[in-house]
Amino acid sequence: MSDVVEKTLTALPALFDSQTGAAKITNRLRQLIKSITELTSKHEEENLIKQELSAMKEQVSSPNTTMKQMREIMVRAMYCEMLGYDASFTYIHAIKLAQQGGVLEKREEENLIKQELSAMKEQVSSPNTTMKQMREIMVRAMYCEMLGYDASFTYIHAIKLAQQGGVLEKRVGTFTPHFHSSPYITSITHAQEIIRRKAVLALYKFYLIAPNQVQHIHAKFRKALCDKDPGVMTSSLHIYLQLIRESPDSYKDLTGSFVTILKQVVGGKLPLDFNYHSVPAPWLQIQLLRILSLLGKEDQSTSELMYEVLDESLRRAEMNHNITYAILYECVKAVYTIHPKAELLEKAARCIGNFVLSPKINLKYLGLKALTYVVQHDAKLALQHQMTIIECLDHSDFTIKRETLELLFRITNAQNVTVIVEKMLDFLRSCNDEHTIIHLVGKVAELAEKFAPDNSWFIQTMNDVFSIGGDLLQQDVPNNFLRLLAEGSESKEEDDQLRLYAVDSYLTVLKGHTSHLPQCFLQVMSWVLGEYAHLQESVDQREVIRLLTQLLDQRSVSSETRVWILSALTKISEGQTDLILDLAESLSSSQDTVLRQQAQELRHLSQESQLHEWALPRGAPWDGIEVDSSLSFLDGFVSEALAAGAAPYKPPHQRQEELCEDRALNLEPYGFSLPVSLSSCSITDRQSPTLLSVSSGLSGNSTELSQKAGCLILEGVKRVWGKDGYLPQKKRSTPPVDEPSAAVQPPGQQEAAERIEPRPDPLTQNQDKQQLASSLFVGLGVGSAMSLLGKSEAPPPRFRKKPHPHESSSSSSSGTSERSSDSSSRSSRNTTNSFLYGSLLEKEPATSISAFDHTPKSTTANGLAQNKDTKEDRRANTSQILGGDMVIVRPSTIQDKHPPSVSSDLTALLPADLKDLPHSDVISLTSDPSLSLSSCRLFRDEALLLVIFISNCTETVIKDVAVQLTCEELKTVSLRGNVVDCLEARSTSVCHYALLMDDPHTNVSFTGTVSYQTQPGHTNTLPFSGTLSTADFIRPLVVTTEEYGKLWLSLSHDVKQNLKLLTDAGDPLRTTLNSLKDALQLHVVDIIGSEGIVACRLLSGAPCLLHCRVNGTALAMWLRSPHPALPDCILYHCQRALAHH
């Protein structure tokens, strides 16, 4: 007690000090600001602030600083932060202060704490943070949490920490997540309206951060929506807008409520407080209209509910104020989004007129936006406003112009495309905003490709696109253009004409100044010239070579472009040996290795014309290119090298792991423990001399490279590898007949194009605009009279692309079968997901079985028989799965009560639809006096079901049981029954998680907590943890031997290893494979002689193929998969399975 008194005494002087302190506060800040404003240079300012900060630091850490002074320091720190200086040392003090201080301090510190949180966020995600620091961060995060700030991002780390650390960490880890949501939930029922309001927003924020963890509070959202205070209801609309945007179907039932709310608001039923410029709660109305439009989209019955209120809103909002226009705008958008009703559409169209014709520029902008949105549904509307649109096109405001062009883009058709593209290019030339250029140039390219009236226009426009867009262009613009040229359309003649035009125009461009041309344009030109220059017979090939060589000499040309140019030169070099040799000579001393290599190739090819013809045939179709990404033709070479004693190749990821392994001290104490342990076993095994780990590793590299670089390089450089080296799949085609193209241009177009030439005469200007309008809006009126359906009637694009099946095989190394299985599993995942989600929201009680309520009805003998039955069932099912039949997953319905069972076997408690699935034994996870947890794994065909049984061991009811499961490496697809409101005495509830593993790890541990209340207001938590192995996530992959062969070639990552052969039975290979099959759920495709092939897949889709051959007393296993880590994992489990045998 004495020290309390002592402390009080020391605190007292500070209290009396406070009056003078108040004066001081403003003085110090005033001084600081004044001195800052007096400074002349940035440098001086920096110095001053640094001084100030160090002074503050001292003050802050001295024990004599009073609270008042502290607060003053905080204000100054805030000011410094705003100017961009780091004052992070004050954060922790801010928190302290906020804890002790009064309201004022709290408010002040809030801002700083937010900064603190974001600083923590950075620290947490940095890999260098040590465990000790981490612990400190967690404690700080808890502090913040306690004060009511959101530090939820630390939870996951807290849990990780809890996994690794000692007792203290464990406490911290399990505590934080639980602590979180409760204060908000409590405050949602707080008496004061403003607090409820803020709590709702805080919950919303929490939902955005961790949607899975708040599923149990969806009911609270509804409560908030029905709150008696309109303010709270308004806040809850934020949540609903988000929820409905994610899944509109789950909330259709709320449409009625929203309509009623809007009706009341529009009808002025709210208190006058909510009026803004005599409009009732405008922001609320906007929010509601957005929600309604989301709900009514493509749904007639729901839309019909809201016609009346939309009509009402349109009618009421006629006052002339900004905010009413905001409501009108939302209204119009809603009317056009929901199922159409003619009467409403008409009214909405009139409203748009008001916007567009308004003299206020902001409204005009919104009008244009609305038009842009609306013309997708009804292009005719644009006709009414053509003159306004033309005016806007010449408007001085950049934003307006851009919006107008956006609108024009939407109404483009084959007839007005030239004028519109012209306008867009004009705008682009005067524009210097990068973002706008990228955006618009893509659109121009799209229009040109879709509607181009003739070849020359198309090529010319694309030239403009490339030279304006320059290197900002997105990669797919040049890619698409080149593909269009290369693959062509149906008729060969037309294609050649187009190519000829391109060659001609590029030659003209290259003859002019080239130094200002963007790299991307140069690349396109050199590719086209390389491929098609031979089509133009009137031009000497030497001239082309000369032009290209000139480019090479230019300093502004990047090395990537040089590679393009050189490969073009290689293609056309035939017969021009003298020129080429000079060039190759000059480049062979280049600094750039790639260039040097190409120069070498160039020299060899030009000297041997036969080889040249074979490697680079001219004018062959594009379909025949095949890329053997696994480089299997090198296998022979590799094995020879290995026989000669070369070290086996290790793919990069493996090398990395080994590096980690070699390090004496693990410098990354946090976060790495799991993967390292798994890799260690497989790697040490592989290092023994008898074992080989061979992979045609180049393949891994090359596919990665090509994926990274995109298909552009593949197309351009055209290095085509096949089984026998260069693939000679092109035949030389006869040069096509040159034919002057009949550029048929509709006469009206030409006129229109002429008309838009600027004429200075003011008298004719109006007329001029009229003409422009007629050319812009041509084809909109009559042609699209029936165009309510908008885009569906768009004319077919002029340049029709051929379907190109090879694109897929070159861009991704995985086979098609993988993709299809992937997509099918994804779709099934989706359906189950949505189903589960839906049922959760309906607040269906989770399975809860009371085992003691029922008197035993069957004898023990019966029970045994039953058990046997289920066991047999199970076996049957396993074999079914192993046989590879797809088990169709019935959408599960929860059974509340189960037939009474006498056996204590928990698996009997599984819902009926899950009972039939093959499952593991039930393991006890954890228990405490009131609850016991056990788990069981169910192998479903598209996911692993982790079932958790929660048993109430007491004689009392346990309330609010909530399970939370966390594992970073796994993906939770769906969950059910993780929240139980009330668990009867001596009963068991079942909760299950469907899990997927995206990245294979040999073993994955999960942790979780169960929170429950034995008596109201007293929450207990019970942590649990467990492990899952990859084997749980593997399912058999059923393929035929042929499919297997194809798939084998398409896979790139492989691992080889010798395994133990089980020799105790007659056929060692068959026995070994069968035991592997039983242990790991593999599919044995075929066994031929001493070789066997086996296939399986990871749940998320990646296949893994195993090739086994008996090699003396060992089994040589060769695994291939598109996934780099998967073979390692499977190998590990195979080893273990055989060792256990």
């Binding site: 009080t8 600001i33 403003i194 303010g231 209340q1013």
Partner: protein, 193 residues
């Protein structure tokens, strides 16, 4: 959602910056600079919206601003906000400031940064509009002012002495969390129902 609220003067000096998403210090400063650069170029009689924000990530975002005498008020929002709605929100903010400071001017924002932050916190919370009613906002801010006054000065001394003593007994207070104890008690937690 509102991503950021910036106030700067005609010379680009920041007077208030509030970000509702996390950026590093440097990015924040860069955003302020670039926003000023974009906004200051625009004439008075063109529209108050700017699209294509490369700064705060994504083309979904736009800047909505208003220019009052020496100050620019800029809101950076994503597509889920109504343009005109935000424009009027700026008006509400300025009118509220005007009421609180009686003829607000740039100096008020400089010397009462804290108060401006408080007002803003009543209007926007975590990027969502919380309150748009001017009188309601002022009531809340004034209530806080009153509490502040009651805590300060000689009149507040007894209350502060009590709280100082209380703070000294901190470890024994139930609200403090003892990490060593597994059964954590949160005070006044009613049942979840």
């Amino acid at each position: 959602m509102i991503k950021a609220i910036l106030i700067f003067n005609n010379h680009g000096k920041p007077r208030l910056s509030k970000f509702y998403e996390h950026y590093t210090e440097d990015t924040e400063q860069q955003i302020i600079r670039e926003t000023f650069h974009l906004v200051s170029k625009r004439d008075e009689n063109i529209c108050n919206f700017l699209e294509g924000g490369l700064l705060i990530g994504g083309s979904d975002n736009k800047l909505i601003y208003r220019h009052y005498a020496t100050l620019y008020f800029v809101f950076c929002v994503d597509s889920s906000e109504s343009e005109l709605g935000i424009l009027d929100l700026i008006q509400v903010l300025v009118e509220t400031l005007d009421k609180c400071f009686e003829n607000v001017c740039e100096l008020d924002l400089i010397f009462h940064v804290d108060k401006v932050h408080n007002i803003l916190a009543e209007m926007v919370m975590g990027g969502m509009v919380l309150e748009t009613n001017m009188s309601e906002i002022i009531t809340q801010v004034e209530a806080q002012g009153k509490m502040e006054k009651s805590e300060a000065g000689i009149t507040g001394a007894p209350a502060r002495a009590v709280s100082a003593v209380k703070n000294m007994n901190l470890p024994e207070m139930p609200k403090n969390i003892n990490i060593g104890d597994i059964s954590i008690k949160v005070p006044n937690l009613p049942s979840f129902k």
